[in-house]
C-alpha cells in the first residue's frame, strides 16, 4: 500500500520562469511530511510535480526524478493517469464535482474509471466517508449534490474522494486554509488516522499544524523575488522547529522573515 518517495534534483519551470530549483528529498512510507515556507516559494509547484499534475499547465516543464518505491514516475513509459491514480491529491480549495451527488463525488474516481458494482461502490462510499469523519453528517442525504455541504464538509468530502481510490500516497495542498479551527482539528485527526495507511505530504502555512501533524518538515524559501524557490532544509519536525540547521529557517519560524 503506502510507498516511499525519493525526489532527486527536481527543477520545475512555468514556460521560461524557473519556479523551483534542485529539490532533493525523501519521504518515508506511512509518514507525514509537511512543506512550509513563504508564499510563492514553490511548495504547491513541488507538490503538484509529485503526481504529474504540474505538466497539466500549458508550458510547464519538469526535470529530475521522482521515484515511487524506486520507480521513476517520469519515466517515458509511465502513464500519468496511472501515476495520479496511485498518488492522490487534495486541493487548497474544496472542489467537489457540482453535478454529482455526495455519494457519486466520493466514488467518482472509481466510477469514472469503470467500476460499476453498486454494492461495492456503496461499501466504499461508507468506508471513505467514515474515514473522513463525514459519514454521520451526510449518511441521510447521500443523494444531495456535493455543493450543498458546508466548506469544511466539502473539504472532507474531497478527502474521502481522494482516499476512495486507495492511492499509495496522498498529497494535500493547504487543506485547512479555508476552514474553521474545529474543521481543521477534524482534518488533522484525520491525517493522523490516514497515516496508518498512506504516505502523506502536506503543504501548510500554519506552523503549529506542521508541528502537530508531521514527522518531518521541509522548509522552502526564495533567495529573492523572481529567483527560483529552493529547499532550505528538511528535518525531523521537532528538531526543525526547536533547533534548525539554517539561519533562514530559524528566522522564518520565529517570524523574523522578510
Amino acid at each position: 500500500m503506502a510507498k516511499r518517495l525519493d525526489i532527486k534534483d527536481l527543477n520545475l519551470h512555468y514556460g521560461k520562469f524557473h519556479a523551483v530549483e534542485d529539490v532533493t528529498l525523501q519521504v518515508q512510507a506511512r509518514s507525514v511530511t509537511s512543506f512550509i515556507g513563504p508564499s510563492g516559494c514553490g511548495k504547491s509547484t513541488v507538490l503538484r510535480a509529485l503526481n504529474r499534475m504540474h505538466e497539466v499547465i500549458a508550458g510547464a516543464r519538469v526535470d529530475g526524478k521522482v521515484l515511487l518505491d524506486g520507480e521513476d514516475i517520469y519515466a517515458p513509459s509511465v502513464d500519468p493517469v496511472q501515476v495520479r491514480r496511485t498518488i492522490g491529491m487534495v486541493f487548497q480549495r474544496a472542489n467537489p464535482f457540482p453535478t454529482m451527488s455526495i455519494r457519486d463525488n466520493v466514488v467518482a474516481g472509481l466510477k469514472l474509471t469503470g467500476e460499476k458494482n453498486k454494492k461495492k461502490l456503496d461499501e466504499i462510499t461508507e468506508r471513505s466517508l467514515r474515514s473522513a469523519n463525514l459519514w454521520e453528517e451526510v449518511k441521510d442525504r447521500l443523494h444531495k449534490p456535493g455543493g450543498s455541504l458546508s466548506g469544511g464538509q466539502q473539504q472532507r468530502l474531497c478527502i474521502a474522494r481522494a482516499t476512495a481510490v486507495q492511492p499509495d500516497v496522498l498529497l494535500m495542498d493547504e487543506p485547512c486554509s479555508a476552514l474553521d479551527p474545529i474543521s481543521t482539528l477534524a482534518i488533522e485527526d484525520l491525517i493522523a488516522e490516514l497515516k496508518k495507511d498512506y504516505t502523506i505530504v502536506i503543504v501548510t502555512h500554519n506552523m503549529q499544524q506542521a508541528a502537530r501533524v508531521s514527522d518531518q518538515t521541509a522548509f522552502f524559501n526564495l533567495r529573492a523575488v523572481g529567483e527560483p524557490g529552493q529547499l532550505v532544509e528538511i528535518e525531523e519536525t521537532g528538531k526543525l522547529f526547536s533547533n534548525p540547521n539554517q539561519k533562514a529557517t530559524e528566522d522564518y519560524i520565529s517570524g523574523r522573515f522578510g
Binding site: 497539466v56 491514480r85 492522490g88 480549495r93 472542489n95 464535482f97 457540482p98 453535478t99 474509471t113 474531497c158
Partner: protein, 304 residues
C-alpha cells in the same frame, strides 16, 4: 478661529458628510431623465411591433384550420386554409440543421477549449468560426446554391436550406460551447485528473455535464435565431402551398417564406396570411426561447 471656551453646542469639527450640492442634485435628475427617455425610446417601438403583430396576426390564428391545414387548392385571393405546411417546413429544416450543427459545433468547441490551447489548428479554426459568424445569410444561401445545386447538381430543396442554415448556426454553437466550457473552473478538471481519470473521460463526465445547461440554452437560442432566416430560403427552395414532408424533393414552404410569398400577392387574403404567418413565426421562436429556459433549469447544476 476657535476661542478657548469651547461651545458645547457646536460640533468640534466640520461634519464628515456634506449636504448634497445643488449641482449634484441637478445632474442626478438629468441622468434619471436621460435614462428614462432612452428606455422609452427603446421600448416603445418594441411594444408597437408586438401590438401590430397581435392585432393583425391574431385573427387567422384563432381559426382551428390555421394549425392543421395548408393553403393547398386555395387561390391567393381566397381566405381560409392554414399554416401547417409552413410549420412542417420550418421545423424540419431547423431540426435537420441542428442535427448537423450541434454535434459538429460542440465537438469543435470542445477541441478548441480542451485540446487546442494555442495550436496552429485551433487558431485557424477560431479564425474560420469568426469569419463564419459574420457571414451574411444571403451569402450562405449563395454558397450552398453554388456548391449543392450548381456544382453537385441537386435540385433546390428544403435540405439545401438546412445546409445553408448549418453555416449560420455552426458558429453560434461553437461560440456557446467555447464560452460555457471556459467558465468551467480548471479546479474541476484537476480534481478529476488527480483521481486518475483520463482526460477524455474528464471532459465527458465532469466538464460537459457542468457546462451542459449553458450549451443547451445556447443551442436553443441559435435554433430560434435561424428559424427566422429568410434570405437562403429565397434562393434555395421554391414555395409550395401544399404540405411537403420531404426535405429532399420538391418545393417546401416555411414560415418566413410564407410571409414573403403572401406579401407579394397583394390581396386582402394575402395580407391576412402574411400577418398570421409572421405571428406564428414569432410565437414559435418565443416557444423555443421558453423551452430553452426550462431545459436550462432542468440541466442546471443543483445546489440543494
Amino acid at each position: 478661529m476657535r476661542t478657548d471656551t469651547a461651545d458645547v453646542e457646536q460640533p468640534a469639527a466640520d461634519p464628515a458628510f456634506q449636504y448634497l450640492s445643488l449641482g449634484r442634485k441637478l445632474k442626478n435628475n438629468a441622468a434619471t431623465v436621460v435614462f428614462t427617455a432612452a428606455f422609452l425610446i427603446a421600448v416603445v417601438p418594441l411594444l408597437w411591433v408586438l401590438v401590430t403583430l397581435l392585432q393583425r396576426g391574431l385573427p387567422p390564428l384563432l381559426n382551428a384550420d390555421w394549425w392543421n391545414h395548408s393553403f393547398y387548392g386555395l387561390l391567393p385571393s381566397d381566405f381560409g386554409g392554414g399554416i401547417y405546411h409552413a410549420l412542417v417546413g420550418t421545423i424540419e429544416q431547423a431540426l435537420v440543421c441542428a442535427l448537423f450543427s450541434v454535434p459538429l459545433g460542440v465537438t469543435v468547441g470542445i477541441f478548441l477549449i480542451e485540446y487546442g490551447q494555442n495550436s496552429r489548428l485551433a487558431k485557424t479554426a477560431t479564425f474560420m468560426v469568426d469569419i463564419l459568424s459574420g457571414l451574411p445569410s444571403i451569402v450562405a444561401g449563395l454558397f450552398i446554391y453554388a456548391l449543392w445545386i450548381t456544382t453537385f447538381g441537386f435540385d433546390r430543396s428544403g435540405f439545401a436550406v438546412s445546409l445553408s442554415l448549418v453555416l449560420l448556426m455552426l458558429p453560434l454553437v461553437v461560440r456557446t460551447t467555447e464560452t460555457m466550457l471556459r467558465i468551467v473552473p480548471d479546479e474541476l478538471r484537476e480534481a478529476s485528473y488527480a483521481l486518475g481519470v483520463p482526460k477524455w473521460k474528464t471532459i465527458l463526465k465532469v466538464v460537459l455535464p457542468t457546462a451542459l445547461s449553458g450549451i443547451v440554452t445556447g443551442v436553443m437560442l441559435g435554433l430560434a435565431r435561424i428559424m427566422g432566416e429568410t434570405a437562403p430560403l429565397l434562393i434555395l427552395v421554391g414555395y409550395s402551398r401544399a404540405i411537403n414532408f420531404n426535405l429532399f424533393e420538391g418545393p417546401m414552404a416555411s414560415l418566413p417564406l410564407t410571409v414573403y410569398t403572401a406579401r407579394k400577392t397583394s390581396t386582402e387574403a394575402g395580407e391576412y396570411r402574411m400577418w398570421g404567418a409572421a405571428l406564428t413565426l414569432v410565437l414559435l421562436i418565443m416557444l423555443i426561447n421558453l423551452l430553452a429556459t426550462l431545459i436550462s433549469k432542468f440541466f442546471a447544476v443543483k445546489t440543494k
